[in-house]
Every structure is written in C-alpha cells, then in structure tokens.
C-alpha cells in the first residue's frame, strides 16, 4: 500500500498534545527536580501520537515485511523453519517470564529446573558434556567458545598458541571472532567440495596452533567425511577443535559433534530449535564443551545439588562473564518448548526431512542451474548461475524470485563459489511448496534467456523496488533529524 497517509514515519504522524500512554495519578508528593542538583532536560523530542495512530503505523509497516508465516524462506545457513506458536505462549507464562535476575534462588526453582533440563537436552543432541546457556547469539557463542580455548592454553602455559585455522569457506563471523579474541587467523584453501584440504592443513599446523574452527556439514552442505583425520591432526599438534553449530539442523540424531572429536561448540537455537528470528534477533547461542574444559565456561553454571537447583559462581578458572545475567532466557524457554514438543525421535525426523527436502530440490534444479559439486547434500546446497544464461547474475535471480512470492536464498556465500546461491529448505516445507519454488526458479531461468531485462529490473511487485544502496552509504541519512537536515 503506497498511500502517502500510510507511508509515513511515526515522526510525521506526531501532533502536539496527542498521547497513547496511561498512568495513574502520582500518589506521593512530586519530587522537586531542582533538588536533584543536576542539569535537567529542557526538551524531549519524542513523537506524540494516539494509540490508534500507533497501531495503524506498525500494522502498516509490518505488511511490508516478508516473514516465515507468510511464505517460503530458503535462506542457506539460516534454517528458516516454522516457528511453532506454542513456544510463544510458553515464553509468556507469567510464572516463567516475570522473574528478576536477582531474585533468591528459592523463588526460581522452576526456571532453574527448566534451564538445567535444556542443558541436558543440548548435551544429548551434541555429544558434549557440559553446556553454558549464556551467549546471546551464534557469534557470541563463537566468541565465548574461543575464549574457553584461549583460557585453556593460558592455563596450560601455552602462551605461544595463538593461531586459529579456518577454511576459506567459513562464515564471516568466524574470522571476525578470531580477531576479537586476540587470536591470529590462518586461512587455508578448501578442496573443491569445500572440505578441509588435508595437505594444506598439515602445512600450517605447528607449535603455535591454538585450534581450528569448522562447521560440519560444511558451508556447501556437504559432510566433511575425513573429520576424524582432521581432529587427529589438530589434537596431535596440541590444538582444540571448535564446531560452528550453524548447520546442526542437518545431523540431529544422525551424528554428533562431540563424537567427531570437537572440543567446543555453539548452537544457534534460532536456527536449529525454531525460535523466531525476530527480524534479526534476539537469538541465543549456548555453548557446549568436553569435561576437561568445563571449569573454563562462563559463570554462573546452572547446577543441581540433591533436589535444589542453583547458580554456581565458584569456578576460579572461568573465563568470567560474557553477558550480564544468564543469557537470552526468553529465547531459551522457546527452545526448551520446541525440543520437548519434538522429542528425540522428532528431532531426528526433522534433520532427516531437512536433508530429504534439500536433495529433492537439488536433484531437479541441477538440470537448469549449475551445481558445482554433485554429491548427496545435507540440509542445504549451493548453485552457481543458470546453465543457459551464464551472464545473468545471482543478484538478479534473487530479486526476481521476490516477484514470485518467495524469499531469496542466501547469495554470494560461500565466497569460494562464484555467483553462489545457497538454498536451505528446512523440514517444515511441504512438497507442494518445494515444487512451486522449483517451478519459479525454472521460469526465471527461461526468462533469463528470453528477457534478461525482466530480471535486471526486478523486483516489480514488492512494496518498494530495487533499493539504491550506494546512495544510502553516501548520503548517510541515519535518523529523522538527518532527513530533515537533508531536505532543508
């Protein structure tokens, strides 16, 4: 809806004297603000709108969003599965949500029991021994996990061990995390199917090695078959293995990072365990470690003594705190709800069907699109352009898909595949949806040959058409005030 009445900023709807709040009368004497002996605010420039204005505003802008409840979201590496509604109800139960982080533990036994049980579930799925629920996101989990590795080497007296090895197919957060923890990055080329090249690995492993970060299946959606050999090389050289859990949805109940030789890992509960992405967060990134690293985990750890649950801060060798309080609890409750809803068998079924859906798409799409590596995939696969229209860019294909009512796949990642288009269907999509998606991609491939301009100028049916990113970066209009300044 491009009606100008609806297509405005909240600030443009503001009118002096309108308000949407309601508060009772103050029932004690009003404080004399001058008695605070501090500079006071002269003006507070916030919008003034009525409750009706406010609701219409947000309902109207919301309709300009694509969402998983609206349609298929095949973003590779993001696991956009259905977000079950019961999870939302449970996270809003007052007895589970209206809790202050500094309440006495005696008033928190239900919540601590829930979190403790969640830790046990996560340990079982991953094959790890001890979990910490504190990290707020996947990248935050990576950061906390690498801190655990660094602390381990510190305590072992291995202060020279500063090198973290990454394959060049890794997620962008991996190298950024390495930098943030003060490690040095050693990037090694992958072999042709995105796996660790064993010769390249052996060539860079030395006494300065701290560890290796890996996701398995890798970012091409292929299972790293020689993972045990990789693990042996790293362990023999005195390093530790970090597992990036972004791709856990491929292997639940089929294989476990802990059994593959990984020492530390994180989950992305907003991927694997169906918690909503919320337009970019909040998520949660719990980490798990093998027993020998447990004492380095962030404090507090959630533990049980007899029938009492408690927060244990007594870990003097811990890396410390990575976040105030205990993690993104409200999200963890949703993950708990999901896992309990699925059960162990249901989780395996989810991974099985995620993998089947991906292979089902891959087998048909490889006839029209280039498939750089034609092997059985796990939960996702990567295409590389249209066979009959090699000059048409992946960006144009992605934008054209929006016209067909599908969200675009992840594009231009992993970096090792030119014109990459990474497709992850998840287990919650029906055959009919998958068929419709493939029909659309095949129609686009045809359009690419017959009328490439149609793709280059796409999308045509979305709330706005292609957005000028260069203008945004040059003009740097980052607030309403900037916008008014620009207009004047």
């Amino acid at each position: 809806m491009n009606n100008t009445n609806y297509n405005t900023l909240i600030f443009e709807k503001s009118h002096p004297g309108k308000h949407a709040y309601s508060l009772p009368e103050l029932d004690v004497p009003a404080v004399d603000l001058d008695s605070l002996e501090t500079p006071l605010r002269k003006e507070l420039d916030l919008p003034e709108v009525s409750e009706g204005d406010l609701i219409r505003h947000y309902v109207n802008i919301s309709t300009k969003n694509f969402s998983i409840d609206k349609g298929f979201y095949p973003l590779g590496s993001c696991t956009m599965k259905y977000n079950p509604k019961i999870n939302e109800n449970i996270a809003r139960i007052p007895g589970l949500s209206k809790l202050h982080p500094y309440q006495p533990e005696s008033t928190l036994q239900g919540t601590l029991a829930l979190l403790y049980e969640l830790q046990e579930y996560l340990a079982e799925v991953s094959g790890m021994d001890v979990m910490s629920l504190q990290p707020a996101a996947g990248a935050h989990g990576e950061l906390s996990g690498l801190m655990v590795i660094k602390r381990y080497h510190e305590m072992m007296g291995n202060t020279n061990r500063k090198k973290i090895i990454l394959p060049d197919s890794a997620h962008g957060t991996n190298p950024a995390t390495v930098a943030m923890v003060g490690f040095e990055l050693v990037e090694i080329p992958s072999d042709e199917d995105g796996s660790v090249d064993i010769d390249e690995l052996k060539a860079v492993v030395d006494e300065d090695l701290a560890g290796l970060m890996l996701t398995n299946p890798n970012t091409l959606g292929l299972f790293e078959g020689h993972i045990q050999e990789v693990a042996d090389i790293i362990h023999e050289a005195g390093g530790l293995l970090y597992y990036d859990g972004a791709n856990m949805n491929a292997i639940m109940g089929r294989a476990r990072p802990g059994d593959m030789g990984f020492d530390v890992m994180h989950f992305n509960v907003h991927k694997t365990f169906s918690t909503p992405h919320g337009g970019g967060g909040p998520g949660a990134g719990p980490i798990g470690v093998k027993n020998f690293l447990a004492k380095y985990l962030p404090v507090p750890q959630i533990e049980k003594k007899g029938e009492e649950y408690f927060l244990n801060y007594d870990y003097p060798e811990s890396i410390g705190k990575v976040k105030a309080f205990y993690g993104n609890y409200g999200i963890l409750v949703r993950a708990f709800s999901y896992i309990a809803t699925m059960g162990g068998e249901g989780l395996r079924e989810a991974s099985d069907m995620a993998v089947l859906n991906a292979n089902y798409l891959m087998e048909r799409l490889k006839k029209t699109y280039n498939l750089p590596i034609d092997k059985v995939c796990k939960h996702e696969f990567v295409l590389s352009g249209i066979k009959d229209a090699p000059k048409v860019s992946t960006l144009d294909i992605a934008k054209r898909l929006l016209d067909y009512g599908f969200h675009a796949p992840t594009v231009y990642f992993p970096l090792i595949i030119p014109e990459a288009m990474m497709i992850e269907p998840t287990e919650t999509e029906s055959k009919a949806t998958l068929d419709g998606f493939m029909d659309a991609l095949e129609a686009i491939a045809k359009e690419a040959v017959e009328n490439p301009e149609l793709l280059a100028s796409a999308p045509h049916t979305t709330p706005v058409r292609r957005v000028d990113e260069v203008y945004a970066a040059k003009a740097l209009i980052l607030s309403y005030k900037d916008m008014l300044n620009e207009e004047n």
Binding site: D27, E37, S62, K98, G279, R348, D468, A473, S479
Partner: protein
C-alpha cells in the same frame, strides 16, 4: 512423522522415488560408519500441547513471579509498566518471524522500524547516530570500550568507574583480558560519584577512554558534564552508560559533551524475563560512524524514487570485512528494539517524563521513610534518581528472607558484590504508596 513435518506417507515415498533412493539412511551414507549415531536421542517426548502446557505450568508454579511478590529489585533490570499495545504489535508474524532485513525490497517494515529506533535513540540521548542495537547493555559497553581502544593508537587501558554495574565491569574485564588490555577502576567519592581527581592519577598515554554510569549502579546521579570535560582535557573518549528512563528528566548526555552513549534498553517496555533478552543501546557522534559496530539502517530510494530504507555501511561488518570487521556481531536485538521503539512512541514526550518523575518521586518517598525508621544509613550522600543504596544496621539476610515471606522482593543484597549489609532498592512508577507503606511497616516489624 511429527506434526511440524508435512511430508510423510505417500508424499515421502514419492520424493524418495523422485531422487532415486529407497530409504532415508541412504541420504546419510556420507557419514563414516563409526560416526553415525545409532538409536534415538535420549530426550523425552514428543509432548502434545496439553502435556507441554501442563509441564511448564508446573514449573512456573515452582517460581515466585513479580505478580506474586512486590518488586523492589533493580540493579539494571527494572519493573516498569509494560504498555499492553507492545505485545499486540510484536506478536505480528510479519515482525517476529522475519529474518535480518538483507533483502530490502521485502523488509521495509523491519528497516523502517530500525530507522525510527535510531532516530528515537538519537533524540533521547542527544547523540548524532545510533546503531540498530546490540545484545545488551554489557555488550554495548564492551563494544564502546573496544571502539575507544581502536580509535587511539598504542592505547592499552580503559578507565571504568566503580559506579558502573559490577556485571558490566566483569564482562569488560573478560573481553579485554583476551586482548591484553588493562581495566583500571576509578573509585567513588563519599558522595558516590566517580572521583575524577583519582581518575587523573590513573591517567597515562595508554588510556583510551573513561566510562561512567548515570545514574550509577548505587543510584547516585553523576556529574556527566565534568566527566566529559575530563575526557576532553585528557584527549580520551568519554562513555556514558545510561538508564534510558532517566533521560525523561535528566539532561541528554549529547548536550553535555559525551562521546559515546551506551546502556541497556530493558526498561523501555521489555519485561523482566530473568535477565534477557533485552537490548544494548549505542549512540555516538557522526564523525565516528564508520567505527560503529553492528547494523545501521540508512534512508535511500528505490529505482522509482520512492522512499526506501536499507542496511548501510556494511563494509564495516563481519560478512564483508571478516577478520578486519569492527565487531563479530551479526545480529541486533531487533524484536527488543521494536519493543523499545513502541514504548517510546507510546509514552511520547509527556509520558516518558511522567514515568521518570513518578519513579523519582516514589523512590524519594521510600528512601525517606526507610531512613526515618532509624534502621538504615545512607551509603552515599549524593542525590539519587529511582534507586538508592542503604546500609542496614541489623541482619540483612534475615530481613530480606522475612520480607519475602511477607510478599516483598525487598531489594538487591549487595553482599553478592562484596558489600555486606548494603541494600540496593529500586522504585518504579508501578509501586503504590500503599505498597511502600506496607513495606516500611514490614521492615519495622522484622527488625
């Protein structure tokens, strides 16, 4: 098959046939035999909706929530009233089940919401730019500290006031330990304000910034202008960790010369949720915008010239810059950011001021009533906003236990932060005179 998995029975057989395999196991034949997990994961379930509701309701009954106990706990997490419109708006699938707005053409809702949030935060703080939010206040604080270290060559130290939340200090110490960087703590004066004379003694060439919290952890209102002046005269950055509610009445830090404003946005309409998810606020001067971590949305236009919003300055971020990114963060707390925006728009200029005035007035009322009992002494003489620290003359543990039995969460016992006998009490607009009078009565009876 589980009810969330639509393809089963004949559909499943058809799909297997289409790709030319006979069983699911074949799809996992690339996993080496000895790595294949046999049997079922030892996780109970699958629970039906009724069973799961019963299980979680029973767990909830083992807790005592703020519906049951009158809450005087604060220390960074405040029991402010959450306007009811918020849950209606954030329950729209279009907001909570969408992904990061990378495809701008189908994400204008989230992008506009972020642009408006950035605008609201700059107006509230008096700063020039805001990012799209971070994990929480503690992580915004560490990102600001890192930003200051990156901005000054050969720096290796940050000064942090002892008035900053102890858990925030803990997080900063954790991160900076791994970067071989020093954290020097600046003590407080008898008033409870950051001692800038002591800060002067701690100065050296390697210092990159000074961080204070206002109102500080103990409730005392800091002299933010003096801190900013101190930073300017020493050519370091000043970082102010704020409670956004306080900015309903206190001067905006941007008008007092502060370089970076951070804080936790929990109090802006986010429920207690046992510590998270909340959002981290981060705002700064426009000259530093290329150093800002996290997402930023800019105004642009589409090919038809229509107003459109888009993620911008992405060249700073991890998915482009990798090892050289400004941070490894690859999300924002988008839904909590939306909550904060709805809250600020609901309250508006009058409402936010009213919440701040009511909280301050009620806190002043309770503080006086408690001091009048003769059972407490002020720990610091400085002026306070909605929270204050008192030293109790009796057995604090016993008092708090007794208060809990009478239905009160009586305050945060600061013994957990090494301050035996000290009680941190927060009062929001939700507390009534009757509740506070009953609390004081209970304190008298239990003492």
């Amino acid at each position: 098959m589980h009810r969330y998995i639509p393809n089963n029975g004949a559909l499943l057989d058809e799909m297997l046939k289409d790709i030319g395999i006979s069983s699911m196991d074949e799809l996992f034949r690339d996993i080496p035999q000895d790595l294949q997990f046999k049997g079922n994961l030892d996780i109970p379930g699958a629970l039906s909706e009724m069973e799961l509701l019963e299980k979680t309701t029973k767990l909830a009954e083992l807790n005592k929530s703020s519906d049951q106990l009158v809450n005087f706990l604060g220390a960074g997490v405040y029991d402010h009233f959450v306007p009811l419109v918020i849950d209606h708006i954030i329950s729209r699938s279009e907001f909570y089940t969408s992904y990061t707005p990378y495809q701008a053409e189908v994400s204008q809702g989230t992008l506009q919401a972020i642009f408006e949030y950035q605008s609201l935060i700059t107006q509230l703080t008096g700063m020039e730019v805001s990012n799209a939010s971070m994990y929480d206040g503690s992580n915004a604080a560490i990102e600001a500290a890192i930003l200051s270290l990156n901005a000054k060559r050969k720096s290796d130290t940050v000064l942090i006031s002892e008035g900053v939340h102890p858990e925030v200090i803990e997080v900063i110490k954790t991160y900076l330990h791994f970067r071989q960087t020093n954290v020097k703590l600046v003590p407080l004066t008898a008033e409870g304000k950051t001692d800038l004379a002591k800060a002067e003694e701690l100065m050296g060439d390697g210092v990159a910034s000074i961080m204070v919290q206002n109102p500080n952890f103990f409730g005392v209102i800091e002299d933010v202008g003096a801190v900013a002046d101190f930073a300017k005269s020493n050519k370091i950055m000043s970082i102010d960790y704020v409670d956004p509610i306080s900015l309903g009445i206190l001067e905006a830090p941007g008008n007092q010369g502060v370089d970076v404003v951070v804080g936790d946005g929990q109090s802006l309409g986010n429920g207690l949720n046992f510590g998270g998810p909340y959002l981290g606020i981060m705002a700064m001067r426009k000259k530093d915008v290329r150093k800002i971590p996290g997402r930023v949305v800019g105004l642009s236009k589409d090919v038809d010239g229509n107003r459109a919003f888009v993620l911008t300055l992405q060249a700073r971020e991890q998915h482009i810059r990798r090892f050289k990114a400004t941070s490894n963060i690859c999300s924002n707390q988008s839904l909590n950011m939306l909550v904060a925006s709805i809250y600020l728009n609901t309250m508006g200029k009058e409402g936010l001021r009213e919440v701040a005035v009511q909280s301050a007035s009620k806190a002043a009322y309770l503080k006086k009533a408690l001091l009048d009992t003769g059972l407490f002494e002020e720990v610091y003489s400085g002026k306070t906003f909605k929270e204050f620290t008192l030293a109790y003359k009796g057995d604090l543990d016993a008092l708090l236990k007794g208060l809990e039995e009478e239905g009160f969460l009586g305050g945060v016992n600061l013994e957990r932060f090494g301050r035996k006998g000290q009680l941190l009490i927060a009062v929001t607009e939700k507390r009534t005179k009757a509740q506070m009078d009953a609390y004081v009565d209970a304190v008298r009876r239990l003492s």
